[in-house]
């Protein structure tokens, strides 16, 4: 059964939410879901852009009280 990992990157400027995701995605199994929490509005664009380029599945995002929740699935 696919697992879900949360990457809490709120308040992370360096290396930042996308870099945290790039490092962490290698540690989950193909098919597993990840939810990235980010306080940086840029993540809502940066992360889907990278997912598309590399070929992972973007599952959607929402903003709640200044925190962006970005969901994805490792596809390869």
């Amino acid at each position: 059964m696919a697992e879900k990992k949360i990457i809490d990157a709120r308040g992370s400027f360096c290396p930042g939410p996308l870099m945290e995701l790039i490092g962490a995605i290698k540690m989950v199994a193909i098919g597993d879901e990840i939810e990235v929490l980010s306080s940086d509005r840029g993540s809502a664009n940066d992360i889907p852009e990278w997912l598309k380029k590399v070929g992972h599945e973007f599952l959607g995002s929402r903003e709640e009280a200044g925190v962006w929740h970005i969901k994805l699935k490792r596809s390869k």
């Binding site: 990157a9 308040g11 400027f13 360096c14 290396p15 790039i22 490092g23 380029k53 590399v54």
Partner: protein
């Protein structure tokens, strides 16, 4: 009370000295005992490796005798931990000794993991160890022209190093008089030339100004050493004559073998800095899983917080401080100028234009570091 510090790098050393100095009377009376376990009798100034690679420092300048940096009263043993027995509040060392503790601080650092990328280890130059930095120094001296590509993995320690080595290489080849024969090509994993937006805003036009080419959204997938080609996860390729890499990192093997954190990153509370689920075990520096720079200054400021809290736990039974995410990183932008980035969990960095003054301060810090390690600066 027994305080055990595992790791003699920057974080562990500053912490040990801070606690020893604050709890001097308790140490003297025997109420407190501080023990440090390390794999080495030497302390390395890791930021100096960048300078060794470009011939601006010699390897001997990187080291001091570890015992000489420690306050009296700290029991120091070159006998690394092999087994953590957290439920028993004990560790067992390589030498077979069992140490029990009331409070433990783990500051074991991180290591390069070039094996993560097929073909990288055997085809790239690195500068994150003495051996690799010296090898890279010799390779650079022999390089007479062609395309140098800088590529990195994630995560890596010292997030400024990719820019630093790139700009220092620019100056290195200018000084050698062959800059027109060398193409310096910088690649970076995300969609700008540095993860810090304000740093990228400064760095990209600077790269344009000095003729450094770049490609963003480039994550190393494999290296074909025969054809001298890098392949990215994004499906692109880059040809190189010389490849310089800052590879992905892992925590130390002992953390992995003891199953304390995937890839050696220990789950850590980002404010209290205790290991998740263990109120008497604190984690410092690179080996935390906190989404923060793996940098010396991070370890330094974390050590200050944990040191204050350990002293308070001994004297008052409760911690007194929280870590606010403070990081301070110099950015060496060439052989004569530098700037810095300072930030915390709430405040992003806003680096100013590089100056000679900051460069001289960085050069001074390369020497002043030893006072920092003693917990005095």
């Amino acid at each position: 009370m027994k305080i055990l510090i595992v790791g003699g790098g920057m974080g562990g050393t500053i912490l040990a000295n801070n606690v020893a100095r604050t709890l001097k009377s308790e140490l003297k009376s025997g109420k407190v005992q501080i023990t440090m376990l390390s794999a080495s009798d030497r302390h390395m100034y890791q930021p100096g490796l960048l300078y060794v690679a470009v011939g601006r420092m010699t390897p001997d300048e990187l080291y001091r005798d570890q015992a000489s940096l420690l306050e009296s009263g700290i029991q120091f043993h070159v006998d690394p931990v092999e087994t953590f027995m957290l439920d028993d509040n004990q560790v067992k060392t390589k030498g077979g000794k069992v140490h029990s503790y009331d409070i433990m601080v783990i500051a074991t650092g991180s290591r390069m993991w070039p094996d993560a990328i097929p073909g990288l280890k055997e085809n790239a130059e690195f500068f994150y160890t003495e051996e690799s930095a010296v090898k890279m120094f010799h390779r650079l001296r022999q390089f007479e022209g062609g395309k140098i590509v800088i590529a990195m993995g994630v995560p890596h320690k010292c997030p400024m190093a990719p820019l630093e080595i790139t700009f220092m290489l620019n100056e290195y080849f200018i000084e050698r008089g062959i800059r027109d024969k060398v193409q310096i090509h910088y690649t970076y994993p995300i969609g700008r030339v540095h993860t810090l937006e304000n740093v990228a805003k400064w760095a990209q036009p600077e790269m344009d100004r000095v003729g450094i080419t770049y490609e963003t959204l480039f994550n190393l997938k494999s290296v074909d050493g025969e054809k001298r080609v890098l392949h990215s996860e994004e499906g692109t390729e880059v040809i190189y004559d010389m490849l310089i890499s800052i590879p992905a990192h892992k925590g130390m093997e002992v953390i992995e073998t003891n199953k304390m954190g995937q890839n050696g990153w220990i789950p850590t509370d980002r404010y209290n800095l205790n290991m998740e689920g263990r109120s008497n075990v604190f984690i410092l520096g690179d080996t935390t899983n906190i989404p923060i720079s793996k940098a010396g200054s991070t370890a330094h400021f974390e050590a200050e917080t944990v040191g204050a809290n350990i002293a308070a736990l001994v004297r008052f039974g409760a911690p007194v401080r929280k870590y606010d995410g403070k990081v301070f990183c110099f950015i060496q932008t060439g052989s004569e100028k530098a700037t810095y980035a300072m930030f915390n969990y709430l405040q992003p960095p806003d680096p100013k234009a590089p100056t000679r003054a900051i460069h001289w301060f960085k050069l001074a810090y390369n020497k002043l570091y030893w006072i920092s390690a003693r917990g005095l600066l």
